[in-house]
Amino acid sequence: MSTQGWLQILVYCAVLLALTPPVGRYLHRVFASPEAPLGRLGAVTERALLRACGVSPAEQTWRQYAGALLTFSAVSVLYTYLLQRVQVQLPLNPAGLGNVEPSSAFNTAASFVTNTNWQGYSGESTMGYLVQMAALGWNNFTSAAVGLAVAVALARGLTRPAPAGDAPATLGNFWVDLLRGIFFVLLPACVVYALALVSQGVLQNLDAYVELTTLEGAQQVLAMGPVASQEAIKMLGTNGGGFFNANSAHPFENPNGVTNFLQMLSIFVMPAGLTYAYGLMAGNTRHGWAILASMGLLFLLGVGVSYAAEAQASPAFAGLAVAEDGGNMEGKEVRFGIANSALFATVTTDASCGAVNSMHDSFSALGGLVPMVNIQLGEVIFGGVGAGLMGMLIMVLLSVFLAGLMVGRTPEYLGKKIEPRDIKLVTLYILIFPLVILAFTGWAAVAEYGVSSLNNAGPHGLSELLYAYSSAAGNNGSAFAGLSANTLFYNVTLGVAVLAGRFWLIIPALAVAGTMARKKTVPPSPGTFPTDGALFTVLLTGVVVIVGALTFFPALALGPLVEHFLGAAGKVF
């Protein structure tokens, strides 16, 4: 570890903190008001968009909201699948890439619609420019906006006063939230961001691949494409699906320290801003900060462990005539080095982004443990755009409930009583996630068609499987990429895992929002657990860690932990 490395990490944290309130205030303005932001221009734009789509902006109950969300997502999956299947007939395919095979097309469609962006395929040799832009890039916008919509709907349910009389409790309008997220938040930011990336060397063209002869006379073909426009939304929408196979490790996606910094910043900026926006909605910005503090604690812990682990020489290199002071550089880029690779790996797995600037599969055992645990904690450390706040608010409800049990009175959150039905839904939310991960990992680990895809033997092989299903169910999308996942078995099971990890969590969350929205608000009493102080932050952090750790510790012990000790003893597989 170096001072320069820590300095870069500190600067990153400082810039992120400075951006949190302004971004939060803007998000609050966009979603908490009946009127569109940006004055007359905004109002006219929104009216035109709604009219073009035939949407009436009426308030929806949680069932109507969830119904619209699910229908839209189903249409998205179908559209994305079809476009890949007819790629040969489409324009803007200068490399002449063929139609995508059905199971791979299903996997990719499910994966991009759910904001996962797990990639079983290799971009430069599979997807033509039109599919990249009009299917994958488009999903990057819509899936992030769907995440935002769910988060604000849940936030409304928790913070709104109960409706008067017999009026139904509502959570807002899905279509309005979706379109506002895309056109008032993501799209304008991406235009500026994409151009900034191009100015640093990220590609942006529709040209044929460039064939050239290298200095030593070898032939090299450079893949081209509209990369920057996709890169911008890939990061800002915490999608993470790379234009190229190597993702943000590819120099055409992430050419230098500046782009790398911007990419890491754009992963966290929306989830961080949302905590502040939520604080404003709850009428207590300190509550937003208390949630952010809990995320920040877990984040810093992850960065510290990952950086320390990667700064050590790899056991595979022990005893050779190789300098030990360079750390573990297998799978890492020289321009990023150890500090920025460890930081990026932590950021991308805390948020459910899944872009990578180094190969997690080649991380040390403990360095690779960090991203895996980050995902398994439920993608709540910042988390994906919207989905992260959703997960964290579920953890908040559980924390407040536990605090209520400790003092023996009915817990209330923001003045609303937490009752058995709410906690049943919260429990359902918490149980589905590990069920999907562990069941599929267990299946893959005992099946011949599962283990035949492994790239590494021994405990690292189990880590590859565990990571894959954690990443899928957590809607992260990063990988221990040695696993050859473009097979029928993996395409289908991982596709099912991403769908379950997205919609089986969104539905209980919206249901919680629906019941909470109905409840009357009671004034705080001396027995009310304060949710804006250090005690709350500690309790929340503890709940997140304990729920995750108890669930996954046995599996982690057999994977990365065993590997760490065996590696230290000089064993290779």
Partner: protein, 193 residues
Amino acid sequence: MLRTLLTSLRVTGLTVLLTGLLYPSAVTALAQVLFADKANGSLVKDDRGRVVGSALIGQAFTHAGYFWSRPSAAGAGYDALASGGSNLGPTSKRLRERVTADAARISAQHAGATHIPVDLVSASGSGLDPHISVAAARYQLVRVAAARSVEPARVSTLVDSMVEGRDLGLLGEPRVNVLRLNLALDTQFGAVH
């Protein structure tokens, strides 16, 4: 239900048009006007004006008179249509065997040198890393100078002048672009072929 489906289709159509087609096209047009060189791959030409590579994409070098790049797991090595890393883990036997062989080969050609800088025997994440560390460049300079029959001090001066610092003085790591360095070698000391 039918109404929701119809709305979904219309929202899909409109957003595909605006974010899937118009947005990338507009960014492409602006990028081509504002940053044409960067947007098209930062291509590098030699003294005769021939495109010999991209400043951002690494190439394999085997000649003793050129600085070598890192090992590459992209296809057969620096295949820009197959970017990616080795994905071999810290307890991988295959990784250990690869590094053992590479370290022995490299040590044999750098008699008297100390331990090999780790990046020179580690495959990058992209398989297309255009850079090596400053230490990896210094490690090779005696060999390069000998192969070109020039004073090591002159090659050393050239290496120093080619070191790229941290971006904005803060971000990333110091590094040397291998293709640019080798082009500069050819310019200053003549081609090796």
